[in-house]
């Protein structure tokens, strides 16, 4: 682009003139300022329990969409549940970052099996997993169950298998889990919260 001396002066004068006009109050349209729109207004809110420690804080999981047939939901936000008696809306840094935990690439989504001496994990179905666990438990219990002690008293112990339960269960789930383990005679029974 070539500018003659005259054109250069015109451009400068026009620039200085318009900026001065704006400064003198003849400003163009007022700059509107709006806060960022509230992103959860119509998101689906789901109550859940934080899976990390034994405190078991209540969380609200917000997902995109209203659950319509054609909508694939996706977690967009997680925060504390103000109505939950344990945490009353608060969350620690791990709980506050739950969205990334849910969407982590390394998250385990299905049962996997690694055969003895193998380095490979292979995906198996839930049915296969449950059947295999039940089968192994039954074999072990049949072989090692102790019905009576040396004095002949009934003890019904099963000491060779233990159970590690989740800490984020509700009282009711915890009660049922406890009944299940104890009714098998299982004594080694602990909670993930102590790990």
């Amino acid at each position: 682009m070539t500018l003659s001396r005259r054109q250069f002066f015109k451009v400068c004068a026009a620039g200085a003139g318009t900026t001065s006009l704006a400064l003198l109050g003849f400003s163009p349209d007022q700059a509107l300022a709006e806060v960022r729109a509230f992103k959860l207004a119509r998101a689906t809110e789901t109550r859940n329990t934080c899976p990390y420690c034994s405190v078991g804080c209540g969380v609200l999981i917000y997902t995109l969409g209203d659950g319509s047939k054609n909508v694939r939901s996706e977690v967009i936000h997680v925060e504390g549940d103000p109505d939950h008696p344990v945490n009353r809306g608060t969350l620690c840094p791990k709980g506050a970052g739950l969205k990334d935990f849910i969407q982590s690439e390394g998250r385990l989504l299905y049962p996997e099996y690694r055969a003895p001496n193998s380095r490979e994990w292979q995906r198996i179905s839930w049915d296969e997993a449950f059947t295999r666990i039940a089968q192994l438990m039954k074999e072990d219990r049949d072989a090692n169950f102790i019905a009576t002690n040396e004095a002949g008293q009934t003890v019904n112990r099963w000491l060779t298998t233990g159970m590690l339960a989740a800490s984020a269960s509700s009282n009711e789930t915890g009660y049922l889990t406890h009944k299940f383990a104890r009714s098998l005679g299982m004594l080694a029974f602990d909670n993930q919260a102590r790990v």
């Binding site: 700059a31 806060v35 729109a37 509230f38």
Partner: protein, 297 residues
Amino acid sequence: MALQSLDIQARSATTTAVPGVRETLDVAKLIDISKCIGCKACQVACMQWNDLQGEIGHNHGDYQNPRDLNDTTWTLMRFYEVEPEPDRLEWLIRKDGCMHCADPGCLAACPAPGAIVRYSNGIVDFHQEHCIGCGYCITGCPFDIPRLSKKDEKAYKCTLCSDRVAVGLAPACVKTCPTGAITFGGKDEMIRHAETRVADLRERGFVKAGLYDPPGVGGTHVMYVLQHADRPELYGLPKDPTISPLVELWKGAAKPLAIATMALVGLASLFHYVTKGPNAVSREIEKETEHEEEEQA
């Protein structure tokens, strides 16, 4: 009705008046440093709410991570190991972030119309779509808070979750705080709450405990309860923050002077045009230049 969900009280680089009839609740966040355990839940909740993803950093031998505020870290736990008295180590942990000054230095320094606004509830907010990336807000801020993004050359900082407050919720950091060190409410209520905390701390032996609500910037909408209020520099806070005199001069006295000069120049040129008229080339000069050109040829 204006289009915005919060009334604006001040707007950067704008001379037109702002609507100011409605009176809304002055909000404030109170950070009680004596209750903070440095868990960083606020830091995580802030990033989660504001859809920010920081880069994975490196360990520098202490808990502070990242090292400084940046475009994706709008609040940062700063860890100070200090000895207020000889042989008495204290680990002071301060949640750093925008103070939401009543008289914001960033807004005064900003030359982009509407890039920085102050709402009637006290929140100072950046509007990146109007930001020109000059970084004057960083120079203007007495607390060194705003940060320019290398990605889009816009300035970012804590919004006090203006989008949450506008619909009646508390900021994300306040909601998540497990120890209740961060509280949120009307500013008067927060000052009252701070007084009870200060009285409690004084009873426990922190005789210099007090509230940090610096008057040099008109008071702030983020306040601290400090165990050593007489020495805020222990926590990395300025003792008496004010807007830099350079910004005051440049945006205060110099601005009307410059405007007046420009108006005068405009008027003078108009008068000159009316009285003298445009420059004209006389016949004689034209002939002279023609001769010169012929000679050169």
